[in-house]
């Protein structure tokens, strides 16, 4: 059974009289353990797609099954639970709480599932150590570099051991050196069995994945496996 399955998915924004079809009839499946890159020009609907997969948004039409659950039928609490436990979302713009320390930011998902304080702190510290930020735990986002913020965001996405990691242009704001560090980290995660879906503009980054979905004007234009010989990173 596929982990993610969409059938004829539409997402239409209504702007006054005008209708913008950000996604048009997207049908696809992603299996557990896959590493998928989504590519496409700006405005083609990549973020829209990620938001739907991440249960942050609801489709205008069509169906989406996540782990065999029909997402349309889930209520607000169930969606919150999925966002909390099953999905780790790394946003293009980090989306960290500006006033909170790195540690508190990473703790956040654990707060909402009722993890006791001591355990929560241990888990958050471990996640920060994994992204090499053990010595920056008490820094606020404004006291961290772009790459460090991105890593805090990744630690937060991973702290709950989600089965799916969704990353929307995780290296969009980073220099090539930091980008490489982050991508190496993703490679490791994939190695450990996580399902990863990442959005990117850069072919170089996309070649870390095993499969590339190209989106054009809201439709899937191509769906190709990356031959092993062309892959980047350690595999």
């Amino acid at each position: 059974m596929p982990m993610i399955e969409t059938d004829n998915l539409w997402r239409t924004y209504t702007m006054g009289q005008e209708k913008v079809h950000a996604l048009r009839s997207v049908s696809m499946t992603i299996e557990k353990g896959e590493y998928v890159a989504i590519m496409g020009p700006s405005g083609s609907g990549k973020s829209t797609m990620m938001n739907l997969i991440g249960c942050l948004d609801t489709p205008t039409q069509g169906e989406y099954w996540l782990n065999d659950q029909r997402v349309r039928q889930l209520n607000d609490n169930q969606l919150a639970n999925i966002r909390n436990r099953e999905i780790g979302f790394v946003f293009q713009t980090f989306n960290l709480l500006p006033r909170a320390t790195a540690l508190h930011n990473v703790e956040l998902p654990l707060i909402y599932n009722g993890t006791p304080k001591a355990e929560r702190e241990d888990m958050a510290k471990a996640a920060l150590a994994k992204v090499d930020l053990a010595d920056r735990m008490l820094h606020r986002p404004s006291e961290l570099s772009g790459g460090q913020r991105q890593r805090v965001a990744i630690a937060r996405a991973l702290v709950n051991n989600p089965s799916i990691l969704l990353a929307d242009e995780p290296t969009g704001n980073l220099d090539s050196k930091t980008s490489k560090e982050i991508m190496r980290f993703f490679d490791d995660l994939h190695h450990q069995g996580n399902t990863i879906i990442t959005v990117t503009h850069e072919p170089d980054i996309a070649r870390h994945a095993h499969r590339v979905l190209s989106i054009l004007d809201g439709r899937i234009a191509s769906d190709e496996r990356v031959p092993e010989s062309e892959r980047n990173g350690i595999h």
Partner: protein, 408 residues
Amino acid sequence: MVVFGSIFRIAGAALWANKLRSGLTFVGIVFGVTSVMTIITALEGATGAIEKQLDTLGPSTFMVAKLMSAFSEEEFLEKIKRKPVSIRDAEIVEEDCHLCEKVSPRAHGGARVKYGDKYIRNVDITAGTANIVDIVDFEVAQGRFHSTEDDLYKRRVVLIGDDLREEFFEGVNPLGKVIKIGPEKYTVIGVAERRGEMFGESQDGFAIIPLSAFIRQFGEPRRRGINMLIKARSVELLPEAMDEVRVIMRTIRKVPYDEPDDFDMETADSILEMLNNFTRMFRLVMVGISTISLVIGGIVVMNIMMVSVTERTREIGIRKSIGAKQKHILLQFLFESVMLTLSGGVVGIILGFLIAQALAGQIDMDIEPSMLAISAGLTVSTGIGLIFGIYPAMKAARMDPIKALSYE
């Protein structure tokens, strides 16, 4: 539970992060609650003191006098022209009233009291028959009250209030000592239990003598007249006893059937009621003003919370995107508004009590923290936080995660 504790801390941290804004709102609530508490506590305290005083009269006792209350100057001028109530009236009532257990005529006067070379001016001289002690709840600390015999033989004996004992007999046994009331000599036979102060006036600067001795010295009070304390046979019979006394009094004083009474008749309860009627208007106005100030405080809280929710739209989006439920967000903002109003309420209650106490101190009255005022203050301030905080909190809880995240 862990979740709620954490959310509580998050709410506290957010208030702390916006110190100035939270502080101003807090001060607003403190002002509102302080004014309400001052008024409630002061009113409660004053009424309580008077009630305590009236409680010394039993529930089956009533009073008859020429003039006991007047609500206007005309009424007062009308009543002051009445014929005084005389000792003779009291004697007839005592004889004819079957539903009355005891009738005790009393007279009041003021005189200079002297012992050795010490003296006190204008001491309240209360004169009564021996049975007054059965009606008024007097505690004798030392010695005794005058007897029927003392009254019969017009003996010059006196029971003194504690102020007199303190002034004249500090460290000495007052019993058997002779003091002078005006020019006449009286033997001290008893000392009353200390009664303390009310509205800044000592309740212990009095002397009680037999009514017969009073008349022998001062004559029957011609203008003020005497008053009667009457105890009905039982509480149930009080209304009938009052009716009976009314009929007897009207007959003695030859009041035509179509004229109103030419005397006042009150129970302790009716005196209390008069008092309450008097303070009710005052209370209503004050409660009105306080309600307005609290509603304004509530609107300020709501406004601040709306600003806060709008300002923190992205934060709400972030929290929802990583798994916060609607109830978590709702609670976070409700905690914030209730923390603001409740802490303002607690400070307001304390300040209000201190101010009421300071005011009461001006007139030497002692007030206690009123449970009613405290619980009203806590309920009202929590209520304001909930009522005016729920709309902003719901607005926050219902935000769409994606829209909130992309809010600029």
